[in-house]
Structures are given as structure tokens and as C-alpha cells.
Amino acid sequence: METTTSFELNQAIQQWRENLGQSPAFRSENLNELESHLRDSIATLQTRGLSAEEAFVVATGRIGQGGPLEAEFCKVNGRAIWLDRMLWMLVGIQIWGLVASLTGSVVRNALSWGWGSINYNYKENGLTLPIALFSLVQVLVIAASLALCWWLVVRKGEKLGARLTPLLKRRSTLVATCAGLCLFSLIAYALGYVMQAFLARSLGVRTFGSIAIYFSYSQLIAWPIQVITMVILTLALARKRLRLNKA
């Protein structure tokens, strides 16, 4: 009668629980209660002669589909869900800020260094070429940081979330994570500024000054492009979200 099946009840229940737990609508207490219900239900079904796997399938069916359940739990857990959304918004803003300013700083220094090593006299050759080049580089940096953020959130978001959640749970790890991030960004920014000071000294004030002029002009072009891109991106995401909600 005993057949070796690959079905492992506890593992299946754990998987089922984790699937529900993906949604912010369920607090962990809700999941505890639903799991307790599921186990009661499975136990009853097993006493009626169902196998573990059959009992699991019937019991999860009776509890109900994730979608409609989520909607009902949403109604009672509204405040927690909004906190959750705010949290991820803040995380998103900070990831964007960190990625954009770090890549910007690295590229700015690299560009200054590269440009400084060729002798270009803008009074003779004009401003158009350097400004066009600097603008192009800055727009590329914006595109690259957006792509990096997209990759982090869409492709690695689940893994990142799974790693972040346990860190947020305990106060000690939460404080350590925040401190680590602060230290990391402080060092990164400090390095960026030290690099600039170093470049100003090694390139000479005249060259460094002219590079600063190119940057200022190119930002006139790159900045509106960034703002417009972000607005379009926000609208596109909002539209997609609305369509998902309708479906």
C-alpha cells in the first residue's frame, strides 16, 4: 500500500503559504490562521480515506483562490497594505537615487579625466562638440541607470525582496542594514568628490573650469530629458497597472 510518491505534505503546505504570502494583503497572523485551517481540513479529509495529496488539493480548493481571497483580506488589512506600498516606494526612490548619482559621479569623473588629457581649446574650436558629447554621455547614463534599476526591480526584485524582508524584521539587522547603506553611500560620494578635487589639481584650473562649463550646458539638455523620461515612465506604469486591475 505504501508507495513512494514525491508528494511531501509539509513542503506543499509551506509552498502554498509562501505563494499567498507574496501578496501584502495577508499579514503573517492571517497566514498562520489559514495554515491552521488548512491542516485541520487536511486531517479531516485524511480520516475519510483520502491520500495526503488528494486531501491537500481538496482542502486548498475549499479555502479558495488566491485572487478573491486577497481582495477580501485587502479590505480588512488596508492600513498595513498602504504601509507596505509606501515602504517599497521609498526603497525604489532610494535605489534610483543611489544608482543614478553613483553612475553619474563615476562617469563624470571618467569623462573629465578623458577630456582633460586631450588638449581641446573651445575658444578656437567652439563649444558644440564638447557639449554634444557631454549631453550624449549624460543621457546614456540616465538610460543605463534606468535599465539597471529596471533589471534590479523586475528581474531581481523577488530575490531582493526575499533578502530584504528578513533584514527588516529584526531591529538589530534593520539598524545594521541602514548603517551599512549609509556608510557605503558616504564613502562612494566622498570618493567622487575627492576624485573631483584630484582632477582639478592635476588637470589645472583652466581645463577643469572649461570642462565644468561643458557639464553645465550639457545638463541643460540632459536634465529635461531625464524629467520627461521619468514622467513618461510613470504614466506608462500607471496605465499598465490600471489595465492589470481591470483584468
Binding site: 491552521s36 485541520d40 479558495g64 477580501e72 483580506f73
Partner: protein, 112 residues
């Protein structure tokens, strides 16, 4: 089988009524209602819990996590004073609907 609307309207009075007979937990509540209704009231089981939590927030019932005889923990619900009051009101409303409908459905001589 009851319609979705009737299930939604009757869940609270059913839960309150079952709890007048003593504390209980979600799975047991569902079993009791199924038995008492002869299988005619069939809930999507998971849907009961948001209702229970709403009732808890409204102070109609109170809850406590306790270890059950199975060794696992269960959340037990108990009726509160506000819940008893709410049940009395529910009772009056459901009885008046019931009385009116039975009067209307009683075979009676046509007046015209």
C-alpha cells in the same frame, strides 16, 4: 445553495449565533454551519477569516491564540457583550423578514 449576496449578509449573524454556544475557531465554525444547514450553506472557507477579523475590530468578538489538543496553535474566537447586542438586533431584523415572507407565501384567498 445561497446566493453570494445572502451569504455575505448572513455570515455575521451566523457566526455570532454559533459563538453563543461557546468559543470556537474558524474551521469548526464552518463545520458547524455546514452541519446545521444540512450542507445548504457552503462558504468559500478562506472568506470567513476577513469577516472574523472585521468582527474582531468592531469588538463584536475577541480572539486568542492557544495550543489545541493537536499540539498546533489555533485562534479561538469568543463572543463579547457588543456581539450579543448586535446579535439581538440581527435576530429582530431576520425574524421580521422571515415573518413577512411567510405571511406573504401562506396560501390565502384572493381579495379581488
Amino acid at each position: 445553495m445561497l446566493t453570494k449576496e445572502l451569504v455575505a449578509a448572513s455570515t455575521v449573524p451566523l457566526v455570532l449565533s454559533v459563538l453563543t454556544r461557546g468559543e470556537s475557531y474558524g474551521y469548526e465554525l464552518i463545520q458547524r454551519v455546514r452541519e446545521l444547514s444540512g450542507g445548504r450553506i457552503e462558504w468559500t472557507e478562506g472568506m470567513l477569516y476577513p469577516v472574523l477579523h472585521w468582527m474582531e475590530e468592531e469588538d463584536l468578538i475577541e480572539a486568542e491564540w492557544r495550543e489545541a489538543e493537536t499540539g498546533r496553535k489555533r485562534k479561538y474566537y469568543r463572543l463579547r457583550k457588543e456581539g450579543r447586542k448586535a446579535l439581538q438586533e440581527e435576530q429582530q431584523q431576520w425574524l421580521s423578514v422571515h415573518e413577512t415572507l411567510t405571511k406573504l407565501w401562506k396560501p390565502q384567498p384572493r381579495l379581488n
